[in-house]
């Protein structure tokens, strides 16, 4: 299929370019480890935070996987702005390149990077004695949640990028969205210790859906019905935000 092939080639282009930046790779790999070690130490003495997990690190690991994935997603639009500024997008537009693939490749790339980071976090977690109670299926769920939540926010991020087309505005928007959504989720602390209104709001937060699915898979190793529903919700929202990005891409084309 043409869209799939074009998306694949364009994702390949972006990943190849990133592989040329050793510092970027180092940060990509080290940053999630720092989160895990830093927060793991910071909150480990507070037993009420970790829900039913045996250690705080075990509780935290699925949260950090999701946090990395969705933060990565919120910044995904920066690459679109660079491609717009450097006229790479316009060059593709004068070819039979699939228009959908131009947008989708940016979204899928964010998902692929999230998978890479999830792998690193998981390996570090194993070294710290984390046990994935859901077994192989648990690991698959963790990866699926990371992949999807990254794409949900990459869709929004690309839509914003195509609407504002300026880096400074993009950075402000990513910060505006990112931090509140992190604190309105159970990434760092269990749902039960949150204030009531935050518990209510967090139910509508896609970040929290990903956290629920991956935490059930890692810490509980069960509750698969709820896991399935949360993953399906994430698939649905991914389709919505990716469609929104595609729609904003058409509005960009009209400005040409």
């Amino acid at each position: 299929m043409r869209v799939a092939a074009h998306t694949w080639w364009m994702v390949g282009r972006q990943l190849r370019n990133l592989m040329r930046q050793p510092i970027w790779i180092a940060l990509l790999l080290i940053q999630p480890m720092i989160w895990l070690l830093l927060y793991g130490q910071l909150f480990s003495r507070v037993p009420t935070l970790r829900g039913g997990a045996s250690t705080y690190v075990e509780f935290l690991l699925p949260g950090i996987v999701v946090m990395n994935a969705f933060f990565g997603g919120t910044w995904a639009g920066m690459a679109m702005i660079t491609d717009l500024d450097r006229h790479v997008v316009d060059r593709f537009l004068a070819t039979p390149a699939s228009r959908l693939a131009i947008v989708l490749s940016q979204v899928v790339r964010a998902g692929v990077i999230a998978l890479t980071q999830a792998t690193v976090i998981l390996l570090v977690g194993f070294a710290l004695g984390v046990h994935v109670h859901g077994g192989a299926l648990g690991v698959v769920v963790l990866f699926a949640a990371a992949f999807l939540v990254a794409m949900v926010f990459a869709g929004i991020s690309n839509a914003i990028a195509l609407l504002v087309r300026r880096e400074a505005t993009m950075i402000a928007a990513a910060n505006f969205v990112g931090l509140p959504l992190m604190f309105l989720s159970s990434i760092l602390i269990t749902q039960r210790v949150m204030p009531h209104w935050m518990q209510v709001v967090s139910r509508f937060n896609p970040v929290n859906w990903a956290v629920h699915a991956s935490r059930d898979a890692v810490v509980r190793g069960g509750n698969w019905g709820s896991v399935g529903i949360h993953l399906l919700l994430l698939v649905g929202v991914t389709l919505v935000t990716a469609s929104f990005a595609t729609w904003t891409f058409r509005s960009y084309q009209r400005t040409l």
């Binding site: 080639w9 282009r13 450097r86 006229h87 060059r91 004068a94």
Partner: protein, 318 residues
């Protein structure tokens, strides 16, 4: 047969009428120049013909395909070298070409051979596997052109191919374009600010002003169409305004204009007119530092058809 046909193209951006009925055609195998200052409409015309934007009115055909109804057929038939380089700077030259070829539907040994051939053709074989970030301006421009040629298009659009190049690189690019046109049997539509470039490369030119074509023909014909000779005078600072008024009042002087310290006018016969012009100016105490009479250039043609010297029009419409 015509490779490009534009009929009554109109395009409006907000309040700016970028194209106000552009009509012209380019024969197969021809190098055709669209000549105009920034914002006159030549870049918008190229954006319509390369399917980047849709016209509000009018029709256009490129390689026999309608740009609005069959955009993907047009896109497979054309190469587009935009004004601003669209290369991926973080990728190598070869990677850029391979991706472009794949998107154009090429693959395997045919694509690899074509990429090798193009790297050779535009002279960047040594740099092929280096990241484009380190290329010089001229090398990047040559890669831009190679990207436009990867799928063996029949029509190539060159949007200001030498803007930003130094004079040496510009001259080299002219030779290159000429050679490519022959080797690849291309129809080329070229837009340019440089009259000299159009004169040098294009077999026919169209002069664009305010979104419409005001003159069209071979550069020689256009120049011959202007009778008489052009006279260019260099004046001392600050006297150009008064000098312009004096020269305008003289019998036989047409299309007088001033650009900085240079005053241009056109007269039936330079040798006869110059003494009169000089004495009229000196009589008012205006010092002329140099004077020259020459056959009309495309500059004069431009002035004649647009009523303005060759300077930037409204940038907003660019």
């Amino acid at each position: 047969m015509d490779a490009i046909v534009a009929e009554g193209l109109e395009k409006r951006y907000g309040k700016v009428q970028a194209l106000a009925g552009v009509t012209f055609s380019v024969r197969g195998g021809e190098i055709f120049g669209l000549l105009g200052p920034n914002g006159a409409g030549e870049s918008t015309t190229v954006r319509v013909l390369t399917t980047l934007t849709k016209p509000d009115a009018g029709r256009a055909f490129v390689a026999d395909h309608d740009v609005v109804r069959e955009p993907n057929r047009v896109r497979r038939s054309i190469g587009y070298v935009p004004q601003e380089s669209g290369v991926d700077r973080e990728a190598t030259g070869r990677e850029n070409l391979m991706l472009q070829g794949r998107i154009q539907g090429m693959s395997g040994a045919d694509l690899r051979a074509r990429v090798d051939e193009l790297l050779e053709l535009v002279g960047i074989v040594e740099a092929a596997d280096r990241v484009v970030r380190g290329y010089s301006g001229g090398m990047k421009r040559r890669l831009d052109i190679a990207l436009g040629l990867v799928h063996r298009p029949s029509v190539l659009f060159l949007d200001e191919p030498t803007t930003g190049l130094d004079p040496e690189a510009r001259a080299a690019m002219w030779v290159e374009v000429q050679r490519l046109a022959d080797q690849e049997r291309l129809t080329i539509l070229l837009t340019t600010h440089y009259l000299e470039e159009a004169d040098r490369l294009a077999e026919r030119v169209a002069i664009v002003s305010r979104g419409a074509i005001v003159a069209e023909g071979r550069p020689e014909e256009l120049k011959r169409g202007l009778r008489g000779e052009a006279v260019t005078l260099e004046l001392e600072d600050g006297q150009a305004g008064e000098a312009e008024r004096i020269v305008r009042a003289l019998v036989g002087a047409e299309e007088t204009s001033v650009d900085g310290r240079m005053l241009r006018t056109r007269v039936p016969n330079g040798a006869q007119a110059i003494p009169g012009i000089l004495s009229a100016l000196e009589g008012r105490g205006i010092r002329v530092t140099s004077v020259m009479a020459h056959r009309p250039s495309l500059d004069d043609v431009y002035l004649h058809y647009t009523g303005r010297a060759f300077v930037d029009e409204d940038e907003a419409a660019a």
